[in-house]
């Protein structure tokens, strides 16, 4: 045991709160990340829920974790492993210990390590630390439950309510370890429980008790860490998850375009929070319909789009399978539609709560006929906002369905989000049919520049028309089976998508003289960036080209892919993006790094794999 208190300055640190699903680990984690963000630290969080919602208390399958990564400079991921692991019971220690760094500190509630708890966690002996080979010096063993009971014994609360505050004791202790200002936590709780001041007060008391425990017993804690912020961007911030950011992006786009926002959806993990979030905001006129299935979710959105709304449908991979036919209808109708795919592990029901990038080829090509559709893949929790906004803009301005891909990892993860200003966001101008076209207009008349058809919303006199899933004559809009016309229509629909302007893909790192270019897309941005940083810190020449716009690809794609000696495409599937790039870029043969574990990449593993290629 360290005798004297040592204050260590660190660049970054990760804390994992783990316990039973009902232990409030997410709240503790959220407050910790908010406090850190408030002092200007960069943050990235990731919740790890059990797949089993009603797992028995204290069981191995019922453990949930919440990891918070804070940094003095930008942190890109929630961190491979944590510096401090909070394990509120024996099952949490058993399942979460693997996420702790070899010398990381471990906080346990000894009151939840009784015989019964050990049994439920399937320990064979009465000494779990020894059984797992954990050095007791790393462990802050603390009778949290008892101390919380003592702390709140005069409040008149019942034991059950009192024990619900255990998470705040752990939080207080962690705040002590990281020298965090408790006032921010107190304000957070006062606001969160503004309608239940008693609960706020109890929680505040317990946080203070946890903090004081840390201070009083500091001899048993090896270090106090301090994370000083170095890269502050001044401004106003909030913590936001990817799903919430997606919902906000849609709301912002609808307001900017002056349209009603419509979401047709059917609940599915990990996309449901988008439906939840949008359903809250009726005061903004948002309409959400929880449909009978995913088909109706997409179909009703098409009806809403026809009627003049910014129409969206949200789901995960299995739902995309069901929506495919209707998505194709939107392609031939040439109506705006945003289809959100929060990817999870597949095939079939697969790994519902885990993350993958395995739907890429499905959203690009998983439909009958020539069915071109723009695809955008958000790169981080906060980028979901911009990606959703851009998806809406493209859908509305180019009269096309657009797929917005996110994944369980960025959808549930959170980061500090600088509040956007609506005035400063790009304008959204749908191609409404001009009044002077009355009399000569037909449904598939196109704007010459964009190749998009015009939008005539029902209610406008003189523009009544019929759209449909059958091929139409380009000139008259009537049903046509003419072979030349069909060939033309297929090409026109494809060209319309190709003409969409997307920003160039940016090359980060050693863009002029990299020996190795890392290529990725979507939600792996943080991990790939962290891997690049680490390799560059080792003195290697490495660059990263990370794609957000998948279809159409940025104009400079081929140039970037061919510029570097070695290129490695890293993705959480068996090579879908690499294959897509090979199809689009003549003669391109990259190295590949593929993993389909349902878990985020581990930076250490990436670095190792990339170094192997680098050193070849």
């Amino acid at each position: 045991m360290a005798e004297k208190l040592e204050v260590k300055e660190l660049d970054q640190v990760a804390v994992r709160f783990s316990g039973d699903s009902g232990d409030g680990m997410q709240l503790a984690g959220n407050i910790f990340s908010t406090i850190s963000a408030t002092v200007g630290n960069s943050i990235s969080t990731f919740p790890d829920y059990p797949a089993d919602i009603r797992a028995p208390q204290g069981s191995l399958t019922g453990v949930s974790g919440f990891q918070v990564h804070i940094g003095a400079e930008t942190v890109y991921t929630p961190g491979d492993q944590c510096d401090v692991l909070v394990a509120m019971n024996a099952a949490a220690l058993k399942t979460q210990y693997k996420y702790a760094k070899p010398n990381g500190a471990i906080i346990i509630d000894t009151d939840s390590f009784k015989e019964k708890d050990l049994e439920k966690a399937q320990f064979k002996t009465s000494d779990p630390l020894k059984e797992m080979g954990i050095d007791p010096d790393r462990v802050i063993a603390c009778p949290i439950s008892q101390m919380v009971k003592d702390c709140l014994k005069d409040t008149g609360m019942d034991t059950k309510a009192i024990l619900k505050c255990r998470n705040m004791f752990a939080l207080g202790l962690v705040c002590y370890l990281f020298d965090r200002d408790l006032d921010i936590a107190f304000n957070f709780l006062k606001e969160k429980f503004s309608k239940k001041p008693g609960v706020a007060e109890a929680n505040i008391k317990v946080i203070q008790a946890g903090y004081d425990y840390g201070a009083n017993t500091h001899s048993s804690v090896a270090n106090v860490y301090r994370i000083e912020s170095k890269t502050k961007v001044p401004g106003r911030y909030m913590d936001i998850t990817g799903n919430k950011a997606t919902a906000y992006g849609l709301i912002a786009a609808a307001e900017k375009a002056g349209l009603r926002l419509y979401l047709g959806s059917y609940p599915i993990t990990p996309a449901t929070d988008i439906l939840h979030e949008l359903s809250k905001h009726k005061s903004l006129g948002v309409t959400t319909v929880q449909c009978e299935d995913e088909i109706a979710g997409c179909a009703s959105a098409i009806g809403a789009s026809f009627a003049g709304a910014l129409a969206c449908t949200s789901t995960s991979g299995p739902g995309i399978c069901l929506k495919s036919e209707a998505m194709n209808l939107a392609v031939i109708l040439e109506l705006p539609l945003v289809v959100i795919d929060v990817q999870r592990g597949g095939p079939a029901t697969g790994l519902p709560t885990k993350s993958e990038q395995t739907d890429l080829l499905q959203v690009l090509y998983g439909r009958n006929g020539e069915s071109p559709m723009p695809v955008i893949a958000a790169t981080s929790p906060t980028d979901c906002f911009d990606a959703a906004y851009q998806a809406s803009k493209i859908a509305l301005e180019h009269m096309t369905p657009v797929v917005l891909m996110t994944d369980a990892y960025i959808a549930n993860g959170s980061a500090a989000f600088k509040l956007p200003e609506l005035d400063k966001l790009d304008a959204i101008n749908p191609p409404y049919v001009p009044e002077e076209m009355k009399g000569t207009w037909t449904p598939y008349k196109r704007d010459e520049k964009t190749g998009s058809r015009y939008w005539a919303v029902p209610g406008r006199k003189g523009f009544a028309h019929i759209l449909g899933g059958l091929e139409k004559d380009n000139a008259t809009g009537a049903i046509s089976t003419n072979p030349e016309n069909h060939d033309l229509m297929c090409r026109l629909r494809a060209q319309k998508i190709e003409k969409i302007q997307v920003p160039d893909v940016e090359v980060l790192g050693d863009k002029d003289d990299a020996e190795l270019l890392i290529v990725g897309f979507g939600g792996t941005y943080g991990h790939l960036h962290a891997a690049m940083d680490e390799m560059r810190a080792q003195g290697k020449k490495v660059a990263l080209a990370h794609f957000k716009f998948i279809n159409p690809l940025p104009k400079n794609t081929a140039e970037v892919m061919k510029k570097y000696k070695k290129v490695i495409v890293a993705e959480q599937n068996l090579g879908q993006f690499a294959g897509y790039l090979r199809m689009k870029v003549d003669g391109f043969v990259p190295y590949q790094f593929n993993q389909v574990k349902g878990q985020p990449f581990v930076v250490k593993e990436l670095v190792e794999a990339f170094n192997n290629v680098y050193n070849k």
Binding site: F188, R236, M238, A252, S283, F306, K461, I466, G469, L470
Partner: protein, 334 residues
């Protein structure tokens, strides 16, 4: 009086087989819309896929001929987000009750203000003659050369089972009866189902033979009217009475039965027990019920969605994106 004529709703040259019931129905729909008087530009006609689903192409309104089975779902989104539109949904028996059965029941359950038309020819016309979910047991078709071994849906039963509030039936060849029920279907706020008995001359000719002609209907059908005694027959000689748990056909003047003993139709009755019995009547023992069988007011989904939005707008302090952001825990980095 409406400022429109049937001509204002007409477009193009229908491509259905000569003699197909869809031709007759289309003409009645044009006429009904003219009498209803909603402007063509404020009307949306949305269909799925099938012979019958071609119908929107012959309408001078806004319209969509979509994909097989999804018309009700598409119409739902259209109506909810633009409640000012009069929305008509056109489906065949396959489109509406087989592949689209789920959307059919849920549109009824939600009670969204759609005028749902079911052109029931008891066959898949467009795919050239397979049995449908309304084909009777034992029906011989290309996909059931030895007869089907399954029972059919009866659309009314499905509609009532899904808590539908409006059900009417008409025969495509009966212009007067069709126009009348269409007007009432439109007037009903909420989901309305109109089953149109439609003949497919090519693959299922004669399926509704007993009621397809004026003469046949005089003999084999009963026109129901709310508040009127349920009397039928070539000389109005028959009536319906209740017996035990069921209905019974009686001859007026026989066994001391007078007009006063005959049941009076109550389409507005909340309890659908007798209405269902009427809808399920079949020949030769019973007449086939035509007209509006059930028409009960209930809160509509589209109105409820939109009034909830207004209610929440009045309650919540934030009404735009900038105000929404401020509802979060915000911190400032200086």
């Amino acid at each position: 009086m409406s400022e429109y004529t049937a001509q204002d709703y007409k477009k193009g040259q229908p491509r259905w087989c000569p003699g197909c019931g869809d031709h007759f129905f289309l003409a009645s729909l044009h006429k009904a819309m003219a009498e209803i008087g909603v402007a063509p530009e404020d009307t949306a006609v949305i269909s799925g896929i099938g012979c019958s689903s071609r119908l929107p192409h012959y309408m001078a309104t806004y319209g969509m001929n979509t994909i097989h089975g999804r018309a009700a779902a598409i119409a739902t989104g259209c109506k909810v987000s633009n409640p000012k539109l009069a929305v008509w949904q056109i489906s065949g028996d396959g489109d509406g009750l087989a592949i689209g059965g789920n959307h059919f029941i849920h549109a009824n359950r939600r009670n969204i203000d759609l005028n749902m038309i079911l052109l029931n020819n008891r066959i898949y016309g467009l795919t050239k003659g397979q049995y449908s979910p309304t084909s009777p047991r034992g029906f011989v078709s290309k996909s059931s050369p030895y007869g089907t071994v399954e029972d059919p849906f009866r659309p009314a039963e499905l509609c009532f089972g899904a808590r539908g509030h409006f059900f009417a039936r008409c025969v495509a060849s009966d212009a007067k009866g069709t126009v009348e029920v269409l007007k009432q279907a439109y007037a009903h706020k909420g989901a309305s189902v109109t089953e149109v008995l439609q003949n497919c001359v090519i693959f299922n000719d004669g399926t509704h033979e007993s009621v397809y002609t004026n003469e046949g209907r005089r003999k084999n059908a009963i026109y129901l009217e709310h508040g009127k005694p349920m009397i039928f027959g070539e000389n109005n000689e028959f009536g319906l009475v209740q017996e035990g748990f069921g209905l019974k056909v009686v001859r007026i003047g026989e066994n001391g039965i007078t007009e006063k003993d005959i049941l009076v139709h109550d389409a507005h009755c909340e309890d659908n027990t007798l209405q269902l019995k009427l809808a399920m009547m079949e020949g030769p023992d019973f007449p086939i019920a035509l007209g509006v069988i059930r028409d009960v007011p209930a809160p509509t989904y589209d109105e409820a969605v939109n009034s909830q939005i207004e209610e929440i707008k009045a309650k919540k302090p934030y009404h735009n994106f900038a105000e929404l952001l401020e509802t979060n825990d915000i911190w400032e980095v200086k």
